[in-house]
Amino acid sequence: MSGLALVAHQFRYDQKAFWRNPASVFFTVMFPVVLLLIFGTVFGGQTVNVRGGIKTTTYYVPAIITLSIISATMQSLAMSLVIAREDGRLKRGRGTPMPPWVFIAGRVGNSIVVALIMMALLAVIGRIAYGVAIPWERLPEIVLVLVVGAAAFACLGIALTAAIPSQDAAAPIVNALLLPLYFLSGVFIPDDQLPSGVIHFADIFPIRHFFEAFFDAYVPAGAGGAAISWGNLAIVAIWGVVGLLLAVRFFRWTPRSG
């Protein structure tokens, strides 16, 4: 098989394993859906003082899609790769003629596809349950932002595995990093209610920039959306490149424990 055919081969099996794993289906698929339903139900009908005032649900749909993209890529990859590494599955794969980049490309492709599916699912739920318009006319921009962000957070997730010593440590480390940043970056709490110092702090990290880029692409201009936010997207991409370099340098294929 040629390189790309081999990536497609790897991707097919990764997809199977992903959808059969109850943990990945719950945390990556169900959790964002439940969050959107809770936020939409609790805060629905209110307005957020962002960009001249928009409906709360208009705010939360792109916010939770942002979370689901990070969850499908960074969180899901960091966890599943650490588990596979400690199980010895990565080491076994390295003993075959499969080139290492093929394995990684299959996994990253898998997580980007899951991110696309999550965006579609949440957009449809937002449309049906809360009347949040799906911005079809901006689909190319939205997909561009999603793919850049998903690839960047996938690289960060792969890099993060180097800092996770064991299977048991994976979930606590990943959540300790991501959950506070979701709050500080305006994903859970609309940014009109966050002190500017918090926003400035969150601006150091990629989540806030990705959220802004995605929000700008998703929320139509009439309701306060801006054009594509190249500045934010560039910062996300730079984070992705840093993640990639760290991953290339520090990723390991053999178990850390035992």
């Binding site: 081969h9 790897q10 099996y13 010895g88 599955r89 003993g95």
Partner: protein, 275 residues
């Protein structure tokens, strides 16, 4: 050959012939895994020369990997893929894989082909692991302590699988700390203890058992008698001759030779090897 701070193995000199089952035997911590991982290309050695299928594993590329199969000492499978799918995934990595159904039969998992790995017993998972190492139709197969933790019947089933590989003409490099396993499967055995080779030979002549002292046991007048002799036939003839003259029987007469296990324990006794 060293790894990390301490030298794990040294002065190891091995030669494995095509088509043979070679057992590398030793207690835990003797350096078996270090050696086999150097041969598999997982570890870099600090010195010495290694050639596996004509190439240095440290530098060998994809074509070389297409000719070897590896069963690691510990390695779980993807719990959510079935036996057939796990083999299908790995088959895609190789240019000329064996047919999947044939491999399923070879490792005795016919009734479990569509069972997901998480539903398999430990022995069945290990056999699937071997199947994944065989799917590329390798010339050389590494098995690192493949039956550790098996119950006796699972071990016996596994041995049948390995015996089948010999019939296929595969070269098998087997590490084990079970003497019985080496005895049952191997054409040649090399024993390692504390990073050094202490004995080598076929299972039959290992440790020069043919020429070591035999032990004669019997009871006479209610007393246990135990004799060690290097001239067994002569001693036995004298003993039985005297008994016959006296019209007595030698109750519970028994002659034992050191088993391979005894030789092994003796050879590795003072190695002080521990993990």
């Amino acid at each position: 050959m060293s790894y990390g701070e301490t030298e794990a193995v040294r002065g190891i000199d091995l030669e494995v012939m095509p088509g043979e089952v070679f057992a590398f035997l030793g207690p835990n911590g003797a350096g078996k895994t270090t050696t086999v991982e150097i041969l598999e290309g997982y570890r870099h050695r600090s010195g010495g020369e290694v050639s596996v299928l004509g190439e240095d594993p440290q530098r060998a590329g994809r074509e070389w990997r297409e000719r070897i199969g590896i069963v690691l000492q510990s390695g779980r499978l993807d719990p959510y893929l079935s036996v057939r799918e796990s083999l299908g995934l790995y088959a895609g990595y190789f240019p000329a894989p064996r047919p999947i159904e044939e491999v399923i039969e070879l490792v005795g998992l016919e009734g479990k082909a569509d069972e997901r790995a998480r539903k398999l017993s430990g022995g069945q998972q290990r056999r699937l692991d071997v199947g994944m190492a065989l799917i590329g139709d390798p010339d050389l197969l590494f098995l690192d302590e493949p039956t550790t933790g098996f119950d006796p019947s699972a071990r016996r089933q596994f041995w049948d699988v390995i015996a089948g590989l010999r019939d296929l003409g595969k070269t098998v490099f087997l590490t084990t700390h079970y003497m019985e396993e080496a005895q049952r499967l191997a054409d040649r055995v090399t024993i390692i203890a504390a990073g050094e080779i202490v004995a080598r030979g076929t299972p039959e002549d290992l440790g020069d058992r043919e020429h070591q002292a035999a032990t004669i046991h019997y009871r006479a007048g209610g007393r246990e008698v135990k004799l060690e002799t290097t001239t067994l036939v002569k001693t036995l003839h004298e003993l039985t001759g005297e008994a016959l003259e006296r019209g007595e029987d030698l109750e519970g007469l028994e002659v034992t030779r050191p088993t391979l296990e005894d030789v092994y324990l003796e050879l590795t006794a003072d190695s002080g090897a521990a993990e």
